[in-house]
Symmetry: C2
Subunit: 341 residues, 2 copies
DNA sequence: CTGAAAGCGCTTACAG
DNA sequence: CTGAAAGCGCTTACAG
C-alpha cells in the first residue's frame, strides 16, 4: 500500500504539499495540485486512517448505540443514519447492547472512550450522568433519539401526547371500551416510552370521564405475534371485550387485526384498532396510526451531530440539555370507525 | 484524557512496561503489573485506538457491507455479527449500499482501503475481482454470506437445492399447480439467489413430469405486502389458480396466507404455502419453511474471519476460493397439506 | 506557495 | 524483566 512519501516522491514535492493538496484545506499551486493528484491516483493512494486520526484527533466516525437491531424501529434508524453519514464521508460503528448490562458498561467505559468515535448517537438508550460526563470530558457530543437524556441533546416524539391523541381519536368515535397494548421495559437503561404512552391514554380516558380498567392494559413486545396473542385474549373474552385497541406499535396493531379476523370480528365495524409508527406495512394493512417518521428523525439526529462536529470552537463540555420534540401526526386509515352500538 | 505517559509516571515505570503490562503479551514482574493496573484504573486510562493501530497495523474492527439493513435477513445478520464481534473485543463498521453504484464503488475503493478495517464481511454482495484483489494486496480477508464469491471464502445455503426441496415437498403432497413467488435482482452486484431457487423449482417440476407455466413465476420483494399482492393475483384468477405457492421468503409466505384468507380460501385445505427462511414469525403463522439459520451463519462467518486474523502467518494474498454449503432443513408446519382434489 | 521537522500516542525489536 | 528509542503515516504550525 502506497504511503504519502511515495506520492510525494512521484509528484516531486514534499509530503506536506501532498497532504495539503489532497485535503484541499490549504492553497497549493495548480501545478503541484495536478502532479499530486496524478501521482496519488497512479499509486492508488488512500490516506491511512489511523495516521490521520492520530495527527488530527478526528475520526470521521460516529458510534451508534442501540439495544438491538432486529426490530423495525432500530433497523430503520440504522439505515437512515448510515445513509446520511456515508454521504458525508463518515463511518458508522455499531454497538448493539443485546449482551445486557455487562456489554453496556463495556461499550460505554471502553469502546466509546478508546477514541475511535467522534460522537455518539444513542438510540432508545438512557446513558447515565457519569457516562455523559466521560464523553463530555473528551469533547464528544452525544445525541439521543427516542427519549430525553438529561444533559444531552435529544430528539423524541411526545409519547404522552401520542398516547393521548390515539385514545382521543377512539373516544371521538364513540368508543368507551378501549384497551392499550403496550410494551415492557426490560432494563433500567431503556426509556419509559410504554409508561408515557399509557399515561397519555389514561389521561384521555379521565378527561372524557371514562373509567380505566386494569384488565385492558396489557403488555406485548412490539411484534406482530405479540399483538395477535394479546388481542385474541382481549377480544375473545365474552364478558369483558373492548371495542377498540390502542397498540404501541403498528406491528402489534397488525397482529391485532389478524386476531380480530380470526375471531370472526370485522375491523373496523366490530373493533377499531390504532397503532403508532407508520411502519412500512401500515399503509398496506390500512392501519390508522400516529406517525413517527423514524428515518427523518435519524437523519436529523445525524445532521445535528455533524453540525456540532464542524463547529470550529467546539471545546470540551459539548453536551447540553436540549430536547427537540419531534412532530407526530394522526393518519386515519381503515382500521378505526364509529363504535358499533 | 490520560495517556500512556501519565500512567507510566504514576506507576513509576516506562511506557514500554505499561504497554506490556496492559496488553498481557509480554512478561512483566508482578510488582510492575500491579502498579500499572492501579495507575491505569486510577487515571481511567484507555488505549488510544489510532495510536495502537498505527503502531501495530491492527484495527480490531471489521467492515460489514450489505445492500440494505431494514429487512429481516440483513438486520438478523447484523445483530448476530455484532454480538459475536463485540464479545471478542472487535468493533463493527457498517456500510450499507443503499446509495447504489456510486456508493458501492466509494465503499470499496476508499472506505475499505483506508485501513480502518481488518477484514470485511460481505452480505449478499458480489464484489468483483479487482475489489477482492485490492483487499488481498492489503492482506485483508473477505468472507461472504449469501452466495459464492469467486476468489473468496463464502458461506451459503444451497439455493438451488432449497428451491428443489420446497417444490418436491409440494409435489409429494400431490400438487401439480405450483407457483413460485420469487424476487428481483436490482443491481449487477447482487447474487442471483432468486434465479437459483427458481431453477431448483423448475428442475423439481421437470423431474416429476409437471409442466411449468410462465404465469406462475412471479416477482415480489420479500416483504409481506408483496407476497399478499402477488398471491391475491394468482389465487384470484378463476381459470388459472395454482393450488400451491412456493415463496422465496417467509414474509412473502405470510402475505400469501393473508391473501388466501381474504379470498375465502383455507390454508392448507385449499392452498398450500411454503416459504424459506424460518423467520422469527414463521412458527407463529405456522409456515412450512426451509431453514436458513441466519444468525448461526453470521456467527460462523465472523468466527471464520476472527480465525484468519489470529493466524500468525497470514500474509497478503489471504483470500482463496472456498465455499461452505450451509445446511438447510425442511420444517413442515401447518400451511402445507395434500392437494384437495 | 512550500519544505523541514515536530508531534500525535502507542508498540516492539534491541540491549542490557 | 525492563528501558531508551525508533517507527507507524499522517498533519500542521513555523520559517522562508
Amino acid at each position: 500500500m502506497a504511503g504519502i512519501e511515495e506520492v510525494a516522491k512521484l509528484a516531486g514535492v514534499s509530503t506536506a504539499t501532498v497532504s495539503r493538496a489532497l485535503s484541499g484545506k490549504d492553497h497549493v499551486s495548480a501545478k503541484a495540485l495536478a502532479a499530486v493528484q496524478l501521482a496519488a491516483s497512479e499509486l492508488g493512494y488512500v490516506v491511512s486512517h489511523s495516521a490521520y486520526t492520530l495527527a488530527t484527533g478526528r475520526n470521521r466516525n460516529i458510534g451508534v448505540v442501540m439495544p438491538r437491531v432486529d426490530r423495525w424501529f432500530f433497523s430503520t434508524v440504522l439505515e437512515a443514519a448510515e445513509t446520511e453519514l456515508i454521504s458525508n464521508g463518515y463511518d458508522l460503528t455499531l454497538y448493539n447492547l443485546r449482551g445486557g448490562d455487562n456489554q453496556r458498561s463495556q461499550v460505554f467505559q471502553e469502546f466509546l472512550l478508546r477514541g475511535r468515535v467522534d460522537a455518539v448517537l444513542a438510540v432508545a438508550i438512557q446513558p447515565d450522568k457519569d457516562e455523559i460526563a466521560a464523553l463530555d470530558r473528551l469533547g464528544k457530543p452525544i445525541v439521543g433519539i427516542g427519549g430525553i437524556i438529561p444533559g444531552a441533546r435529544t430528539i423524541e416524539m411526545d409519547d404522552f401526547a401520542a398516547g393521548k391523541l390515539a385514545t382521543e381519536h377512539l373516544i371521538s368515535l364513540g368508543h368507551t371500551k378501549i384497551a392499550n397494548l403496550s410494551g415492557e421495559i426490560l432494563t433500567n437503561w431503556e426509556f419509559n416510552q410504554p409508561g408515557l404512552r399509557r399515561a397519555g391514554y389514561l389521561e384521555a380516558l379521565k378527561n372524557a370521564g371514562i373509567e380505566s380498567k386494569e384488565a385492558w392494559q396489557v403488555m406485548g413486545d412490539y411484534s406482530i405475534p405479540s399483538g395477535y396473542r394479546a388481542a385474541k385474549q382481549l377480544l375473545g373474552d365474552p364478558r369483558n371485550a373492548p371495542t377498540a385497541l390502542f397498540c404501541n406499535s403498528d406491528e402489534m396493531a397488525i397482529g391485532a387485526i389478524l386476531a380480530a379476523k380470526d375471531l370472526g370480528l370485522r375491523v373496523p365495524q366490530d373493533v377499531s384498532i390504532i397503532g403508532i409508527d407508520d411502519h412500512d406495512f401500515a399503509e398496506f394493512f390500512g392501519v390508522t396510526t400516529i406517525t413517527q417518521t423514524v428515518s427523518a428523525q435519524a437523519t436529523f439526529a445525524v445532521r445535528t451531530i455533524l453540525d456540532l462536529l464542524s463547529d470550529p470552537d467546539l471545546g470540551s463540555h459539548v453536551n447540553v440539555d436540549q430536547n427537540t420534540v419531534w412532530p407526530s401526526e394522526l393518519i386515519v386509515r381503515s382500521t378505526t370507525a364509529r363504535v358499533n352500538s
